[in-house]
């Protein structure tokens, strides 16, 4: 190997770590140069959605399942944190953890029976769960504030340092998102992650290799619910206000669209999908007005032409290209 090959090999070997590092630096520096609060508010939302979409992508893209109910777990996190900190006077940080644990229990109770189902039936079951949670949020107004929502959620703080400006929140949200992305990258490069990919590829083969497919599905479902719950808590403390509209079934469908458009089974695709579908409407007025239609169209077009989603689809193509080229050279 000459020195140039060595450098490339080093880059290749540490590509995941280096990408995380680069993204961290960009995220650390750009708000200092370009601290437009409107943009920061938007990117903070992207960071929060990235966490939800990452969890959902592990469940849909990696493990090959489907959920049309993840906005419900997002809601449990948001309303959980809101209630605990305002109504019951709990400290914000521990309540985030407690709420996540509670959401994990609920996901377990929903997941064990629901994950015996496949395909459309699983989609319907999770959709049903979302409708139940949404209805509770709207109807139980003494507790949740009903359709008009719930305001006055305190911001998070460390000591006397309050996360109360868009800039400070930027660092909080993206630190959380980067940690979650790193955990996700760790997971998919491990035996447990390969087990999930195996079960998505062929359940019978996965079982014959020693993957306890039923438990694996429940575990990744709970993990994705916990991520959604954490993102929900973060949402509540970032915007200080929650209302049911954010957590309806259309939000669940949006999350799935972000997963699919970004890339099924791609951790980075989660970031990309969340960013693309949150940015676009802000820039194209038409998009805002016809959001649902355009989301639907985007979903159909991507599924038709790049069924693995943009990032994964392109990466797959590149992988075959690269493999071919290396093969020719060898």
């Amino acid at each position: 190997m000459n020195s140039r090959d060595k450098i490339f090999y080093f880059l290749y070997l540490h590509r995941t770590g280096l990408t995380v590092l680069m993204l961290t630096m960009v995220l650390a520096i750009y708000p200092l140069l370009y601290g437009n609060p409107y943009i920061l508010g938007l990117t903070n939302l992207i960071g929060i959605y990235t966490i939800v979409v990452l969890g959902l992508n592990l469940f849909i893209g990696y493990a090959g399942q489907i959920s049309l109910g993840h906005a419900a777990f997002f809601a449990l996190g948001a309303y959980g944190s809101a209630l605990m900190t305002t109504e019951w006077g709990f400290w914000p940080w521990p309540s985030i953890v407690l709420v996540a644990l509670g959401t994990a229990m609920i996901a377990l109770l929903v997941g064990i029976p629901a994950l015996r189902l496949h395909g459309h039936y699983l989609a319907m079951a999770t959709l049903g769960f979302n409708i139940v949670i949404y209805t509770v949020l709207v109807q139980w107004d003494e507790l949740t504030g009903g359709p008009s929502g719930f305001a006055g959620i305190p911001s998070l703080s460390i000591g006397s340092w309050q996360f109360d400006s868009d800039l400070k929140l930027h660092y909080l949200v993206w630190a959380a998102a980067l940690i979650c992305l790193t955990l996700g990258l760790n997971l998919v490069r491990s035996g447990v992650g390969r087990g999930l990919a195996a079960l998505a590829g062929d359940e019978i083969a996965a079982r014959s290799l020693g993957v306890d497919t039923r438990t694996a599905k429940v575990k990744v479902f709970v993990l994705s619910a916990v991520l959604a719950s954490l993102a929900g808590s973060l949402y509540a403390h970032t915007f200080g206000f929650v209302s049911p509209d954010t957590f309806g079934i259309f939000a669940s469908v949006d999350f799935v669209t972000m997963v699919v458009v970004g890339g099924l089974g791609s951790v980075w695709g989660s970031l990309f999908g969340a960013a693309l579908l949150t940015w676009l409407p802000e820039f194209i007025d038409l998009f805002e007005a016809y959001k649902e239609i355009i989301h639907g169209l985007l979903l159909v077009v991507v599924l038709l032409y790049l069924p693995q989603g943009l990032v994964t689809g392109l990466v797959d193509l590149a992988r075959v290209r690269l493999a071919r080229r290396r093969h020719r050279r060898a």
Partner: protein, 254 residues
């Protein structure tokens, strides 16, 4: 090593296996042969937990494993291949083979998420093991290829590598050379001999009689779900019942 006793499996009243018994000897290659529809694949499925027998029992290394779920059978060290290839087409060759190491991987989701040094080291060990398996089956060059784009013969080898990589104590091969050309068949034959020489125990389901006669120590013949003969390759070859099962079937369909 493995004892199958009076195993029965019916599909909608039609017996695919009736009262089949045989044993596999440690370190030996046993062939399971029989005409199409004889019940060979059903037998492998019932042993590995991919299917549930209606009656009878299966013992492995002195322990009853009848009806155990497939993933637990796999964790006991029984690996298999599938007649119609069950690879993970979107994963690369190396990742497919790494999936074969599930039984040696960590099961903790928390460990996988946090990736402490212990997990990192284990991953590195598994990776080396998988690379060695690729090397053994001449797949090193294809390591990064998605399996879905490979030629059929290469895929067959990937599945073999995936079954062997975990050092299982028993390997069940369901028609490993079906669809391969002469050269590839010879290579698989040599591989089976090499595995035997290393002390692996194998059950070989195969229609290619040259291969079966060339590599097996013991042959079990099924026909219509019944065990009609068993013995050394020579004994089986001369058994009139076996000739009739094969020839009778041929003349009936001809």
């Amino acid at each position: 090593m493995l004892d199958v006793t009076s195993l029965c499996r019916n599909f909608g009243g039609l017996p695919a296996l009736s009262e089949v018994s045989f044993s596999l000897q440690r370190g030996r290659v046993t062939a399971l042969i029989g005409p199409n529809g004889a019940g060979k694949t059903t037998m492998i499925n019932c042993i590995t937990g991919a299917d549930l027998p209606d009656a009878g029992r299966v013992d492995f290394a002195g322990e009853e494993i009848t009806g155990l779920p497939a993933y637990r059978v796999a964790r006991l060290g029984i690996a298999r291949t599938f007649q119609n290839l069950r690879l993970f087409p979107r994963l690369s060759v190396i990742d497919n083979v790494l999936c074969g190491l599930t039984v040696h991987g960590g099961k903790s989701m928390l460990g996988a998420l946090l990736r402490p040094p212990s997990v990192r080291n284990r991953e590195r060990r598994l990776h080396l093991k998988a690379m060695a398996a690729l090397d053994r089956f001449g797949l090193t060059e294809l390591a990064d290829w998605p399996v879905g784009v490979l030629a059929y013969g290469d895929r067959k080898r990937v599945e073999l590598a995936r079954a062997v990589v975990s050092d299982p104590s028993l390997i069940l091969l369901d028609e490993p050379v079906a669809g391969l050309n002469h050269e590839e068949t010879m290579a698989v034959g040599n591989e089976i001999r090499a595995l035997r020489a290393q002390g692996y125990t194998l059950l070989l389901v195969e229609h290619d009689m040259d291969l079966v006669m060339g590599v097996s120590d013991h042959v079990v013949v099924l026909d219509g779900g019944r065990c009609i003969a068993s013995g050394t390759p020579d004994e089986v070859r001369q058994n009139p019942l076996v000739l009739e099962a094969y020839l009778g079937r041929t003349s009936a369909t001809a």
